[in-house]
Each structure stands twice: as C-alpha cells, then as structure tokens.
C-alpha cells in the first residue's frame, strides 16, 4: 500500500528518532518504531489529520514505560496510572472537560532526559548522561535544564513539541539555549496530576516547540480544571480571569525591570534584547521603566522554599514499596562497618546510592531550612519575601490578580487601573546572561560550587515565585550567531496576552529577517 504524501514527513521523523538520540541523548526511553508508525497511520486513516509527534519529560508518569526522573532510585519504576496531561494529549482522558474530537491527537515517542528530579540547570545531572545541544555542531554545549531532553528533541526537528516542567526556569532556560519557544503557563492552569513533585508550589507543566501555533493548540487542550489536582485553578477563577482580560488595548504598555538589568549580560544577549525592544518602540507600543525591589532577593527565597519542599517530597523514596533498594543496606545488618548500623536512618544506604550528589545536597539544604531556628529565620522569612514580591508584581500590572482579590475588588481595580493609565500589560527581560556554555565549562564551574549554577536562574526564578505566565521566544539577529531567548511575563492568569506577545515578537523578527534577506 502506498504511503499518503501527508504522512511521509512524520514517518521520516519517526525513522530519525534513533539517530537523533544517538547524537544528543535527548531521550531516556523510546517507544517501538513500528508501534509509532502504526499509531500514526491509524490515526490519519480515521481522522484524515496528521497527528503531532511529542515527547514527555521523564518526571511525568506514563504506563507504557518506566518513569525514572533521571535517577537510579526510580530506574525501573513503572507507574500504574497515566498523568492527566498524557491522557489528554493521547485522547484517552475520560474526565476531560473538553471534547477531544476537536483537537489533533499526539503520538508520544518516548520520555525525555532531565536533571534528576528536575534539580539542575544543564541536564547534566541525569544517570543517563548529559543531553547535548543540537544547535552546536562542532563542540558539545549544554541544552540548559532541567527540561533539556525535551528541548533538544524539538530543536533537532524530530518532535513537533515536547512537554516539560518548569519549577525555577526549567522550560525557559532550555528554550533560550536551544533557540526554540518555551511556554510556562500560570501555576494551576495545567494539571499536575502525575507530575512527580520537586517543589509542588512551583512545579508547572509547560510546552516547548518551534511553532507557536502548536503551542497554542496544545495549551488549549491542556488548559482545563482537573479535580484530581488540588492546586488546579477552579472553573470559577478561570471564568473570572476571562472576564477581566477580554478587553485589551491594541497598543501595549511594556515594562523593563530595573532589577533584571544585571551585570554580566553578554553582548549577544544585550544586542538581541535591545533590538526586540527597539522594534516594539518603533511600532508605537509604550515602553516604561519598572522597579520591583524584591527581585534581588528571589534567588535565596527560591532556594529556601523550593529545597524545603523538595526535602519533604523526596522523603517518600525509601526503596520499600517501589524503586531501587540497596543490597548493601542488607549486608550492613550486623556488619563490622565503621559506621554503626542505621546510624543515619534505615533507608540511608538506599537513598545515598539512589540519589545523585546534587539531589542529596538539595535535600540537605532543604532539611536545614526546615529545622528548628532555620524554620523561623529562613523558611518563614522567605515566604514573607515571596508574598512581598507577589504584591509588587500585582501593583504594576493593569490586570488584577484574581487570587489576591475578590470579584468585586478585581473589577474595581481594573476600572481604576484603566483610568489612571500608569500600569503595564507585560514585562520583558532576557532569560539568561549568556548563550549556552560548553559542556566542559559548565561541568567545571558546577564542580567548583553548586552556587554557580544557581546563579543561572536569576532571571527565571521571579516569575516562578509568583506563578506568572511566561513565554520565551527566540530572537534571531544578523549580528549574532545564535538565536537569543526573549522572556515575556504577564499577570497571573493572563496567559493569552503572553502568547499574543510571543506571536508579535516572532512576527516582527521574521519580517526583519525577510527584509534583510531581500536587501
């Protein structure tokens, strides 16, 4: 039987999966090629639509293969249930609030590589070895993390999109380093049921792709209330957000934040960012300076709160009910080892062998932050600074935050803000101070001190602390070798505005590129 022309490109991409993976190590597990082709062909024959090819980050559970989180402690763990996002995308979610017939289904090709449990900014902390960046052919560069595998399989044109997670920048940094689009919606928009928790008050499912229309389509499918996720945004709040965001001005007010203007931003990043702002200014959008002082404290706040949550979340991994169980923990029973039996707890052997070094360091710091004096001085204080930052964001955006105000208060604030005309629609700033470093440089700095990679998160963590919707779009400049990610942040719930801003930037950049080519 001859293959329909529409199907040939997608089948060719399926043929390329193994080769791409051998080059960049994007995927931890890959589904059988023949099964993928069969599913693709069956879907096309039934619906006359070519499905999407996608990958799922390996901290999101699936039933067809192991979910490892890149860690030995879950190396052979197969989940008995499917994450809500996977069920929706595969068209098998019975409780879905949206009719799956209206959407293009996705074929999952496999699970993408990540830093263990999402802890890292390079996708170098996986037991399955680092993932490398397809944008760089001559020397190995990092993809960024922790959703590095998700980004690289898209950059190499195998998948239409990938599903990742973003806790402190793990979608946005890989999107920037790999030159693709990364979208982190508002916290609570997309279900976390089946997402293995790192820090549950920060973890957000996000989408990576080269095509913003695909991101919009996938977001539309996933943006629904899930009763299984207690942090899922309620239907009532979703309706309220729709109400207050429906009427928008054509010309936007865009904020440039003083505190994201940090030292050490490379010339390439600075050049691209300036070009993007200049282009927006030239088409008569208003550009305003903004100050959000609490941003300077975002990094210590994030590393206090996220690691405290991680320490608690990872306490469940003891090797008793599932996952890796250390044989040496049995051997030490009655042994003459210099460490007394169980001196560090009955599961310490399993956990020390099962978790990577970076995971152990973060658990330790998280435990410290929750213990006695530190709880008062560190954890509670960090929460208050987080609240202060959220309040500061709320005070600069035109759209009120539905979480912080009642329905009447929101409407009143919106009226006031529109009348005064001194607030902003979106904020813009770079994603990182540089382009993707070489793998060698990154590993060297990381071995000197973990703090070196913590600093990489300085421009992504603020939006995570406040749960704000954020998009990173690649800006191509004639003067730069690599595309540079431009970050757009909106008010909580104002995801549509952020997506539209992303579309606008891409359109401007494309028309500039077309104009310079014709010259």
């Amino acid at each position: 039987m001859s293959i329909p022309n529409n199907l040939k490109p997608i089948l060719a991409r399926i043929d390329r999966i193994k080769h791409s993976n051998s080059l960049y190590n994007s995927l931890i597990s890959v589904r059988d090629e023949n099964v993928l082709k069969e599913r693709t062909t069956n879907y096309f024959q039934k619906n006359k639509i070519v499905p999407y090819l996608c990958s799922i980050k390996d901290n999101i559970v699936t039933t067809e293969e192991a979910t490892t989180c890149g860690s030995k402690i879950l190396e052979n763990y197969v989940s008995p249930f499917q994450a809500t996002v996977v069920s929706i995308l595969e068209g098998s979610n019975k409780g879905s609030q949206k009719d799956s017939q209206n959407f293009t289904k996705s074929i999952v090709i496999g699970k993408s590589n990540l830093d263990q449990f999402g802890m890292g900014s390079g996708t170098t902390n996986s037991i399955f070895e680092p993932t490398t960046n397809p944008l760089y052919k001559n020397q190995a560069h990092i993809t960024g993390g922790s959703s590095g595998g998700a980004a690289s399989i898209v950059t190499d044109d195998v998948c239409d999109y990938s599903i990742g997670t973003d806790t402190g920048g793990s979608i946005r940094l890989p999107a920037h380093y790999c030159g693709i689009i990364g979208f982190k919606p508002s916290y609570g928009r997309i279900s976390r049921w089946g997402v293995i928790a790192y820090a549950q008050s920060f973890d957000t499912v996000g989408i990576l792709s080269k095509d913003i229309k695909i991101i919009e389509d996938i977001y539309e499918q996933l943006n629904q209330y899930d009763p299984k996720d207690p942090t899922s945004l309620s239907n009532n709040l979703r309706k309220r957000i729709e109400e207050i965001t429906k009427k928008r001005d054509e010309k936007l007010s865009i904020g440039l934040i003083q505190e994201t203007n940090v030292e050490g931003i490379s010339e390439e990043v600075s050049r691209s960012f300036n070009e993007a702002i200049e282009a927006l200014f030239n088409i008569n959008h208003t550009i305003r300076p903004v100050s959000l002082p609490s941003i300077k404290n975002s990094l210590p706040v994030y590393y206090t709160l996220a690691l405290a949550e991680a320490s608690s979340n990872l306490a469940r991994y003891d090797g008793v009910r599932y996952g890796f169980h250390s044989k040496s923990s049995e051997a030490s029973h009655g042994s003459d080892s210099s460490q007394k039996k169980d001196e560090f707890g009955p599961f310490s052997e399993t956990r020390s062998e099962g978790f990577g070094k970076e995971v152990q360091k973060r658990i330790l710091l998280g435990t410290y932050n929750l213990s006695s004096d530190s709880f008062k001085n560190n954890y509670l204080k960090a929460n208050m600074v987080r609240k202060s930052l959220i309040n500061q964001f709320n005070s600069v955006f035109k759209v009120p935050n539905v979480l912080s105000s009642t329905e009447e208060e929101s409407k009143e604030q919106l009226r006031e803000n529109k009348a005064n005309n001194n607030k902003i629609d979106v904020l813009m700033f770079p994603v990182s101070t540089s382009t993707a470093p070489t793998l060698e440089d990154f590993l060297r700095k990381d071995s000197e001190s973990s703090l070196n990679s913590y600093i990489d998160d300085v421009l992504t963590v603020p939006a995570s602390l406040a749960g704000l919707p954020t998009i990173v779009v690649p800006w191509k400049s004639a003067a730069n070798q690599m595309p540079i990610g431009i970050q757009v942040v909106g008010q909580f719930g104002d995801d549509q505005q952020v997506l539209e801003m992303g579309q606008l930037l891409l359109a401007i950049n494309a028309s500039q590129a077309a104009a310079s080519e014709s010259n």
């Binding site: 206090t304 707890g345 600074v385």
Partner: protein
Amino acid sequence: MLLRPISRCFIRYNSTNVASVGKPFKSLEEIKKFLAAPSWNPKDFVLSDKTVGDASSEEKLVTTDELKYLLRLSNLKLPQDEQDQQSLLNELNNQIKFVNSLHSLPTSSLVGCGGDLSSISEQIRLSSSSRILDNNPVPLNFDELMSSISSISNSVDAEKGEVSSSWGPMELTSNPLNDHQYVVVEKP
C-alpha cells in the same frame, strides 16, 4: 555587620522596597541608556570556599556534628572519605550563607506583610497566603459539604492506578525480603 563585604550589604538593603512604574521612555536613546546601566551583580551571592570557616564571619555555620544530625533527618549517609566529608560540609555552609542573606532584610520593609511580624503565629499565617492559591475561597455551607461527601466514590478508580485488592498489608508477613529479613506485624 561592618565586617561583611559591602557588596552583600548592597544586595540585602534596599532603602525603599516599594514597586514603581515610571513614565514612558520618550526615545530609543533613553531606553538604551536605561538598559546599559546594570543595577546589581548576582555573582555577589556566590562566595568562594575561602570565606567558609572564616573566623571573622558572624554567620552561624554548621559543624560536623550538626551535619550528621541533618543527614540523619534526611536519611542520607555521611561520605566515608574525610575529604569528601569536608567538601560536603563546605558546600553546605556556602549554600547556607547564600540563603542566610535574607536574615538582614528588615521585615518592616516587606510590602503587604502588615501585622505583628515578631509573632511566629502571624508569620505562619502570612506564609500560607504566599501560596499561589485562591486567597479568598468561598467556604462550603453545610448542604454543600454533605453533598461533596456523598459524591466521593467508594469504588477504586482505575484512572488513578487503584486496583481492587491489590495490596494486603498482612501479605508482607508471608513474603520475606530475604533469608534473614521479614516484616513483623503484631496482631492485637
């Protein structure tokens, strides 16, 4: 406090902690000038190993015994090698100095955190409202509560991976882990 590096004081203290939106930029030159003037350096947070254990530092650092205590709480082992132990301790102390930079931030400067912040209960109350959740949930009335309870399914939910009779807590007693380890359950 005078012994602390000046750059860290700059990071910690901000004379006004109030957000602001300025007047629109009138020209590209104004924008370029704004973007060309960085306001701070995040690398000031990163301390070299030399600062750890510095006798002049006023920071309360973690000792080896305290490290062991934290490892016990975390159910993680102390590395066997002494050099690895010292390296772990130094790394932890560097991270602690990093997060401890919040100590010097005056709570009175925190926007929207009114109330008696010296009280722990007030701090705990405020910390719950820093979550990204609805701060004004509508409480359930009695009828709604009873209706919610009755709608909870008693049957297993295959979508959640629940399988009927899949785990019997007493079954473990008949399945020893190996020759010399087994689970003991005392019957009342």
